[in-house]
Amino acid sequence: MDFKLSEREELLRKSIAEFAQREIAPLVEEMEKTGEFPRPLIKKMGDIGLLGLVTSPEYGGNGMGFLARAIAIEEVSKVSAAIGIALQVHHMACWPIETWGTDEQKKKYLPRLTNGSTLGVCSITEPSGGSDVFGMQTTAREEGDYWVINGRKCFATNSHASDVMVIVARTGEDEKGRPSFSAFIVEPSFEGFSLGREENKMGFRGAFTGELVFQDCKVPKENLLGKPGEGLKIGLATVNRVGRPGMASIGVGLCYASLEEASKFAKERVLYGKPISNLQAIQFLLADIFALAEASRLLNYRANWMMDQGLPCDTEMTMAKLVATESAFQCARMACDIHGGYSCIMEYPVQRHLRDAWVSIPSGGTSQVAKVVLGRHVVKNF
């Protein structure tokens, strides 16, 4: 078992860290203030190759793979978790299109998604429920050359910065009488589509989170993604194998961001005549943050490595997401403890890490959903 990263992966980490410092860091203050997504960043992320990490070179990506993606999202999220989630959800549009798309669909949409002209969206959640997928209300019916979609998606990341959206809608019933679903590629220019409200969030400020509104929205027949009835399979696979590790990577980035802030502060803050980093109570907190960060990172790398190897990894991905996002919140909490009153001051980044970590927990499936998955796995296998 080799835990060393390859030369390629080390250079990737270094290069994305530099990109994040140069191009993302200066934007954070404004993003926090206004909640606005900095659109010029899309082209820059395209040029640097972030948008094409999970897409084959044949379609304009670089196909560096999931472990590379984990490292890249980690480094981006250390600087801005909001951009981290914009990036990770973007991949949730790229991957299902390449995995289930027809040749025409791949040729039409993947180059646009990788060249920096737009971000992707993948949206399943609705006001009627995210965890309760079978309760999905959005419907799609066949009508001539179109699928006509009616309904409303909420909490869609990148909603207001995307030209290519993958959504799932109810299209019928299966042989057991349960609802069945299909996946579609939707462009905001389609008749009957509109953007709804844009949420004002307490974390991930700078990533668009909005509503997608379908009122007799006409989606061309050829935009059905995969076969009818495969929608839930496609949606859940995307959430499990792209969404969850993406969120885990954000969590890992936040853990390390909290670690660095906490350590820096502890070495500078002098109380009782010495830096507080000399005190055991503080060292214990730093140790806990460190261990959680490392554990989260390794769980995430293992799950992503398995994905690159073509091994089944839904359980590992779910575990990584659960641990990393919950750890991010704990690490931020402990880092705030170390900062004392300064954790309440907006100039100090650590309060942002706490808010971002909180928002990362219900994203990509709540912790409770993850525990249902893992609990069932234990009962079945142990």
């Binding site: 070495k267 500078e268 002098v270 830096p275």
Partner: protein
């Protein structure tokens, strides 16, 4: 070394004005020559009369080697190095010092390579070791480390020296000779062509000669706060300097940056406000007579090397200091 005599100095000039750094090096060469019973030679290249060249005698030179030609008024690296090397090979000096200015740093390595001799860069001190070999003290790694460099076998021993490290002598009436050497630079020598010459304005009080230096760092926080330094400088008759981070923030121009890759100063009084005190900067001020440090971080390394350290926010201490000084001035 057997057969080699004389400490030489290349005296840099710009537009006919001889730079201080050459005069500072003449003072050091004078000291070294006196202790080893040899002479001081000055190299002057440009467009000068012999009378003008005589000035260098009053600053410590025994012999001034003058290469005068209109084409040499502006620096040309190939022409200059060719002439210097020819003379060095003929006269065999023990050592050759050049100011560590951009021009000096451009010229010295070429000369050293042509002479196949050793060269040390931006020395902060020169002294003779017990064995008579010239010890050249050089900072490395941004000043965190100092090296003693020697050139045991090759001659001349060459060194470039930071401006401001040594002090020029008071000009005196001295005996000596000016030796004019005929010069006919070829077109080859004058490559590459200079197509434009732009003088830079010297905006600020020369830091190098100031007896009081008020220096600001990242802890000053903003360009607005920088005014406090200017005020204090006015009250104390000092010059304002800056550290690298403050220059990077745009609060002060590059020309007033004090540090290993900027200016070296040795004032009587140095006050550093909002500066952590990394070696890079300390190297630039360590010869100050009194060092005052103002920083809100009690762990700032600068406090290790200060005479008086004030633990406090510079943006609060400076106004109070300015207030006190004004009071004193009114009373006194």
């Amino acid at each position: 070394m057997e057969g080699y005599k004389g400490f030489w100095v290349f005296t840099e000039q710009l537009q006919g004005r001889i730079s201080d750094v050459g005069l500072e090096l003449l003072a050091k060469a004078r000291e070294l020559a006196d202790s080893t019973n040899t002479y001081v030679g000055a190299l002057l290249l440009g467009n000068f009369t012999e009378d003008k060249a005589k000035e260098l005698l009053s600053y410590g030179a025994d012999r001034v080697f003058l290469f005068s030609h209109p084409e040499l008024e502006i620096y040309h690296s190939l022409a200059y190095s060719k002439l210097i090397c020819q003379l060095v090979e003929a006269e065999k000096p023990e050592a050759l010092f050049i100011g560590a200015t951009p021009l000096g740093a451009d010229l010295a390595p070429r000369v050293a390579a042509q002479l196949e001799t050793g060269l040390s860069a931006h020395c902060v001190d020169l002294r003779l070791g017990e064995d008579g070999i010239l010890e050249q003290i050089v900072p490395g790694f941004g000043g965190t480390m100092m090296a003693v460099i020697i050139c045991p076998e090759k001659r001349p021993q060459m060194a470039t020296v930071m401006p401001g490290v040594f002090s020029k002598l008071e000009p005196q009436n001295r005996q000596g000779e000016v030796i004019s050497i005929a010069v006919e630079p070829t077109e080859e020598d004058l490559r590459p062509k200079v197509v434009e010459f732009k003088a830079k304005e010297q905006k600020t009080v020369a830091l190098e000669g100031a007896s009081v230096v008020i220096c600001g760092g990242y802890g000053m926080g903003s360009k607005e706060n920088w005014q406090l330094l200017e005020e204090l400088a006015k009250l104390t008759g000092g010059a304002v300097g800056a550290t690298r981070p403050a220059v990077d923030e745009g609060w002060a121009p590059e020309e007033v940056m004090i540090g290993q890759s900027g200016k070296i100063v040795h004032p009587k009084l140095y006050i550093g406000a909002g500066i952590s005190g990394v070696m890079h900067h300390v190297v630039g001020i360590q010869d100050s007579e009194i060092i005052v440090v103002i920083n809100k971080d009690p762990n700032a390394p600068f406090f290790e090397v200060c005479d008086f350290g004030v633990i406090g926010d510079a943006t609060q201490v400076l106004p109070a200091l300015i207030e006190k000084l004004r009071e004193k001035q009114q009373v006194g």
